[in-house]
Amino acid sequence: NVNKKNNIDLKKKARALTAQTAETDAIRFLVGTQSLKFDNQIHIIDFDDENNMINKSVLLHDAGEIWHISGSPADKAVLTTCYSKTSESRVLTCAAVWRMPPEWESGNHESPDDSSNNPQTLELLCHLDNTAHGSVACVLWEPMGDGKRLISLAENHVLLWDLQESSTKAKISSTATLEGKGQLKFTTGKWSPHHNSTQLATANDTAIRGWDLRSMSQIYCIENAHGQLVRDLDFNPNKQYYLASCGDDCKVKFWDVRHINEPVKCLEEHSHWVWSVRYNHSHDQLLLTGSSDSRVILSNMVSISSEPFGHLVDDDDLSDNEESQQEDKGKEPLQDSIIATYEEHEDSVYAVEWSVADPWLFASLSYDGRLVINRVPRALKYRILL
């Protein structure tokens, strides 16, 4: 169960990846597998930074194949999954809140050769009952919340849930419905960490919409944000009005939601649909994108980051000697650029995530079940830090 490389083959098709949000010490990712035929699993990936080793633990998730996974911000043992359930020739995607069994960590690592070891099963806390609303696209935790509030996006409904009685009971506190022509269906969404967690952004088809959770009403709508389907969204963790989106037009766009007519910036580096976009949690110039062209691209978007553009040097420091001036020439303001393109995947990459514990580390997951962990290049890291 020890892998000295930076990647691990989970040997199962997988789309769902999340960092364990409440875990701030260990570098840990959760992967949900997709299989119609076998019992699905939650793979817990631990990365040992010092020894460059990946450890994997497995928990059984026998409810169905996992389309989306998300960890509670307050309790590292609690997570939600969106899974599809086939009953009577009907496929329905449901959502549920789970608790990992407390013993999973106690040396219960699955080794590739040892399949006899029966993995433990997740403990179901409660269902987010969606029979009235249809398939769930994703479940969002309240960012930096107490792990009591959730949003699920089901077809064209936004459902705000309150978890009660130690998360064993979920109750809808308010709902909003997207009305319009045709069959509207949310593809994804993101709960904004700003504004006291009162805003939500959702994507349906080519449009991005903002919602106020207090009144459950739409506050903005970027029609035709992308030429084709919008696949993912992420909020800039430091700039409250900035939002990144990606989609089937191979583009990544940056929006200032106060001026929605034109994107602030547009990247077109991938050669196929972009499925996932993530801001680094601490340094918002670092941006990660994963695409079905099997590539992961790490970009450095200095010009629209919250950190000062270029290198601010006090005049007093400079005026003394020429040496520092020459030094300054060497440190020309960083341009928006691609830092690296990672081509280790051989199938479509559907998810990328930054680690919560180490801001310089990220994981990417491709459909064939390969998870790759990479670091921000050292040179850039020092450049940002120093």
Binding site: L36, V91, D249, E346, S348, D368
Partner: protein, 768 residues
């Protein structure tokens, strides 16, 4: 005297002989000497000095017969006789003359004696006259002085009379409006009056004169101010006023202000509706010529007039010249602003010759001013205006070209959108040819129009701007290069705008434009630029855009357009496939009996795209494949690869194999870039489109869950695509690989993965 007295003789030869003999006798005639010498040698010459009678006689006797001798003898006798008588006559004549001469001398002696007496008497008389004359002049001396004095007094009195009469005379002149007379009269009197102004009577006159002259000046000024009078009258006025010591400066001002109103009044009311040539004509005829007239008369009056008296000291010309310049400048400024306004209104680009002719006339007429008024800035300002107009014109032409380009594209768009009657609508190559011909012709005609600016008969064409900058910066860079850049630019815009709004540009137009840009890159650009350089003899003083840079830009645009075309077409097919996958309930579908209609549609569309691209682009190269490829690859595809790859994966017991095999497969196949740039040929374009479509198909399949028959339907569909799509692409393995992936993914997403028999699939597909 002797010859004169020779009596006339009937025989001239005889007389001469006598003459000569006489001459010989007196020995003084030079003529005689000559004859003497000529004759002297013959002793037989009876008249010669060396005559020897003996020799003569002997000669005669020897030569002559008796008869002859007899004749000779009688002749000789006759001659002797006549000679004797001649001699007698001569002697007689001479004697008579001598006698008469003696008588004359005697008579003269008597006369001279009488004359001497008379002369004595005369000298005595003369002495008496001299004495008298001296006496008289002594007495008359006093009276003469007196008369001189009297005549002096007389003239003075006459002058005084003139002075006293002056006021009256001036008044009269004033009444008769004979200003010139009055002024000249006053001028004559002025100095005297000035000198004697201390005397009361003169003072009175002076005052009177002053008053009158003041009045006169007033009248003159009035006349001057009224302005109704002709230029000639006016100049007379000015002249008189100047003589009246009127301050020249003020006069200049007045003259100019009067001229100002007269020159500008008729012209400065712009009339709409006249064409530019008419307008400029009017401007030239009314404004410029009257301005020239003013300048000329002004110069006549104030600047070129001979300086005399006190006027010289005031340095009028310099002051007047300054004023004139200011005057001309302000007027010209108004005129120019008017002209410029009018030129700016000239927006129609249909006929440039009118404007050029107007500008030429405008410029030509201004040269007159430069001749009249050498240091003036007006002509150069006029040239500036012409230059600005030319610049503006180029800009207008550029925008006209751009509009034309857009319009042509709109036409092409309509032609493409029009319902297709097989014979009525032109095909793509025809559209391309006509479009590129339209553009080229339009560009050529614009070049011809612009060329008018540099025609030889246009006065401003030899200005440095029109020789250099106009050609290189203006026409070449500002017009031609900008236009080409604009074409590339607008082509690129088609790519950008269409991407976000879901392909508002018809794909055929993209394809056509891409070919157009490519043609530009290969030939048209260099042709156009060479044409321009030749027509305008562009000398590159300033750096100009090189042909290669433009070509690179055009190629880039062509590439972008073609990429975009692939993207749009791929998207159209992708959308069909996506809809077909997303809207179907794959779990509860029935057993496949047919290939789904959408797949047929995909193949049809791909075929028509293939035809469309083939009209404009070459075939391109494929990877070599054996003949009858469809059958052969099909069997490989179905029997060996597919079966080996997918069959084990359907059994839950061996999940490892599928991964292993698929990974091994991927290891050996190259990574496929879906939206990658394409080459300028048909195969590459089609490969790009099919790649995009199939990848979409794959991704959509992965998002769905399939029932048993769902999987089988996908199998059938993929087989159908396999049968038809391989022929379009450069590397058929690519199609195989993607279709394998699709079927593989569908199998993986299948709840009950039991694949259909290959033979059944084939039967269904062959049925169509």
């Amino acid at each position: 005297m002797s010859s004169a007295t020779t009596p006339p003789d009937s025989d001239p030869s005889q007389r001469r002989r006598v003459h000569s003999m006489l001459k010989h006798y007196y020995g003084l005639n030079e003529e005689g000497k000559v004859t003497e010498q000529a004759e002297s040698l013959d002793p037989c010459d009876i008249n010669g000095p060396h005559f020897d009678p003996e020799v003569y006689l002997n000669k005669l006797r020897m030569e002559c017969s008796l008869g002859e001798l007899m004749d000779h003898e009688s002749c000789m006798v006759k001659q002797i006789r006549s000679l004797d008588s001649d001699m007698q006559t001569l002697v007689y004549e001479n004697y008579n003359k001598f006698i008469s001469a003696t008588d004359t001398i005697r008579k003269m002696k008597n006369d001279f004696k009488k004359m001497e007496d008379e002369m004595d008497c005369l000298s005595a008389n003369m002495a008496a006259i001299t004495e008298f004359s001296a006496h008289i002049s002594g007495t008359l001396q006093d009276q003469h002085a007196q008369i001189t004095k009297l005549s002096g007094v007389h003239t003075l009195l006459r002058k005084l009379q003139f002075l006293f009469e002056l006021p009256a005379r001036l008044n009269k002149c004033l009444e008769l409006q004979a200003y010139a007379q009055a002024v000249s009269a006053h001028r004559r009197a002025r100095c005297v009056l000035q000198q004697y102004s201390h005397m009361p009577s003169f003072r009175g006159i002076q005052d009177d004169c002053h008053v009158i002259m003041e009045q006169l000046a007033q009248q003159l000024r009035q006349k001057f101010r009224d302005g109704g009078s002709s230029a000639k009258d006016l100049s007379e006025c000015v002249e008189l006023l100047l003589q009246l010591d009127e301050p020249a400066e003020e006069l200049c001002d007045k003259f100019l202000s009067h001229a100002h109103s007269s020159t500008t009044n008729p012209f400065l009311s712009p009339t709409a509706g006249t064409d530019i040539l008419e307008f400029i004509d009017r401007g030239c005829n009314e404004f410029v010529s009257s301005l020239c007239l003013v300048i000329a008369s002004y110069q006549e009056l104030f600047i070129n007039r001979p300086q005399e008296g006190e006027l010289a000291s005031k340095n009028i010309p310099e002051m007047a010249n300054g004023k004139l310049h200011v005057f001309v400048d302000t007027l010209a400024a108004r005129y120019f602003s008017l002209v410029e306004r009018r030129i700016q209104e000239e927006k129609g680009v249909s006929d440039n010759s009118l404007l050029v002719r107007a500008l030429d006339r405008f410029h030509r007429r201004l040269q007159a001013i430069s001749k009249l008024l050498p240091g003036s800035a007006v002509p150069s300002q006029g040239t500036e205006i012409v230059v600005r107009a030319a610049r503006e014109r180029i800009k207008q032409y550029l925008s006209a070209l751009q509009t034309f380009y857009h319009d042509s594209l709109t036409d092409v768009r309509q032609a493409l959108a029009a319902p297709r009657h097989k014979d009525a609508t032109p095909s793509l190559p025809e559209l391309l040819t006509s479009l590129s011909n339209f553009i080229l012709n339009q560009l050529k005609s614009v070049l011809a129009s612009v060329h008018l600016f540099t025609a030889k008969d246009i006065t401003f064409s030899n200005k440095p701007y029109f020789k250099g900058e106009f050609c290189s910066q203006g026409v070449r860079e500002g017009l031609v290069v900008s236009f080409i850049k604009f074409i590339c630019q607008s082509s690129r815009q088609y790519c950008e705008s269409a991407g976000d709004r879901g392909g508002s540009t018809p794909p055929a137009l993209l394809l056509l434009l891409s070919r157009l840009c490519l043609d530009y890159e290969t030939s048209t650009i260099s042709y156009i630029l060479t044409l321009t350089d030749e027509q305008f003899l562009v000398q590159h003083h300033t750096p100009v855009t090189p042909v290669t840079a433009l070509c690179a830009e055009a190629r880039e645009a062509a590439q972008k357009l073609l990429n975009h075309y692939v993207k749009v077409q791929g998207l159209i097919i992708s959308q069909m496939l996506r809809k077909s996958v997303e809207t179907r309930d794959w779990v509860n579908t029935i057993e496949p009996r047919n290939v789904r209609a959408v797949m047929k549609r995909v193949v049809e569309d791909t075929t028509s795209i293939d035809v469309q691209v083939g009209l404009l682009y070459e075939e391109g190269v494929r990877k070599a494949h054996s003949s009858d490829s469809s059958k052969r690859t099909f069997s490989v595809y179905s029997s060996s690869r597919q079966q080996i790859r997918y069959a084990p994966s359907y059994t839950p017991s061996a999940p490892m194999d599928t991964n292993l095999l698929s990974n091994i497969h991927k290891l050996f196949s190259e990574r496929i870039d879906i939206f990658s740039p394409v080459e300028f040929n048909k195969v590459s374009v089609l490969t790009g489109i099919i790649k995009i479509s199939l990848k979409t198909f794959l991704e959509c399949v992965r998002l769905r869950t399939f029932g048993r028959y769902g999987l089988q339907q996908i199998q059938v569909d993929c087989h159908y695509l396999q049968m038809y799509l391989w022929r379009f692409v450069s590397d058929e393995n690519l199609v195989h690989f993607l279709l394998d992936e699709i079927v593989g993914s569908a199998a993986h997403r299948c709840l009950d993965p039991s694949p259909m028999e290959q033979s059944v699939i084939e039967v269904i597909c062959e049925r169509g």
